[in-house]
């Protein structure tokens, strides 16, 4: 069985790089930055695809992963579609031996699973475009504590935080209202404070 090019290690590296990615500059600069990031992760990007309705196609097989971007897109649209591809690589499932994901400007999902994945991709891509990753649940772009059966005060707090993160991602998938609420600055800041209280590891110190 030939494995898909996009592996967990690639996702981990992508998450690491994404957290330190500058969010300033024009749409052209930011799109170029995301393209370089993708190419660094081994994703071939082609911005000359003659796509009519679809904005981009992410195609992965054992031969490699490629992102085909519609040539007709404006700079802003191209920036947004790159953000969607990055988000798709992070949260989407690409199955071996070959899989493809289509990126549209609007909604096109047919099954519940597709709708949920698209919602998370759109939310994370929006946060990336806005230069505010904290507007999306942290597990989507960072390593977080996990929900476990823990009994010491410190591990219990971390486990509680893991549970909250799990709950957050679940509702982020399913609820439009939660996604809007989660993207608010005051909510992001409040969640950040909760994370600091419950997890006093060096990352939050």
């Amino acid at each position: 069985m030939i494995e898909t090019g996009v592996l967990d290690e690639t996702k981990r590296q992508l998450r690491d790089r994404l957290r330190s990615l500058p969010g300033d500059g024009s749409a052209v600069t930011r799109a170029a930055r995301l393209r370089m990031l993708l190419e660094e992760m081994g994703v071939d990007c082609d911005e000359t695809a003659d796509l009519q309705d679809v904005d981009a196609v992410l195609l992965a097989s054992a031969r490699g992963t490629e992102a085909l971007i519609a040539a007709r897109l404006t700079d802003d649209e191209r920036h947004r579609v790159y953000a969607r591809i990055v988000a798709r690589l992070l949260v989407g499932e690409l199955h071996a031996p070959i899989d493809a994901k289509m990126e549209y400007a609007g909604e096109h999902a047919t099954t519940r699973e597709e709708r949920e994945e698209d919602a998370v991709v759109a939310g994370l891509a929006g946060a990336l475009v806005d230069g505010r990753l904290d507007a999306a649940p942290r597990p989507l772009y960072d390593d977080v504590p996990r929900l476990t059966f823990a009994f010491t005060p410190r591990t219990a707090a971390r486990s509680t935080l893991g549970g909250l993160h799990q709950w957050s991602v679940l509702w982020y998938k399913r609820s439009n209202m939660y996604r809007r609420w989660r993207a608010r600055r005051d909510v992001s800041h409040a969640i950040e404070r909760i994370c600091i209280v419950l997890d006093r590891t060096p990352a939050h110190a």
Binding site: D44, L51, V54, L59, R63, A96, P97, I98, A100
Partner: protein, 144 residues
């Protein structure tokens, strides 16, 4: 016509009838020769309707290349079919994909059949390269 070796001509003569039969089976009844020729042309193969007809009748003079065999099957949604397996075996070609892998390629083609024609062609062209293991950029660089 490019000069060909006698051995190659003899081998092709020996297998072209059987290959023709498999090509007919691949196309099935739901797709006309004209439609197949048009789809092959869109994918970048210079195959006319009369060539489709000649190959299917075992009268094609030039040996069918690996690229054309795979493109033929891609256009017929027959990548996982026994017909392609037979054609490849007769031609002496091996692809690094299992029958299950090829079924996944067929599933992907079916899944995105609702796409507009131009979008489907972009996807199909790229899938062809993934099947054959050549990057389109390599082709561009060669022609540059």
């Amino acid at each position: 016509m490019p000069e060909r070796d006698e051995v190659q001509i003899a081998r092709w003569d020996a297998i072209r009838n059987r290959i023709g039969g498999e090509l007919r089976g691949m196309r099935g009844h739901g797709r006309s020769q004209a439609q197949l020729a048009w789809e092959l042309d869109e994918l970048g193969f210079h195959v006319s309707q009369s060539m489709v007809s000649r190959y299917e009748q075992g009268q094609g003079e030039v040996p069918l290349t690996l690229e054309r065999m795979v493109g033929w099957a891609l256009c017929c949604d027959a990548l996982s079919s026994e017909h392609l397996r037979q054609v490849l075996e007769l031609g002496g070609y091996v692809l690094p994909w299992t029958r299950g892998d090829m079924a996944q390629f067929d599933n992907l083609l079916r899944r995105y059949r609702a796409l507009s024609r131009p979008d489907q062609m972009v996807l199909r062209r790229r899938m062809l390269w993934h099947l054959l293991g050549l990057h389109p950029r390599g082709e561009q660089e060669l022609s540059a």
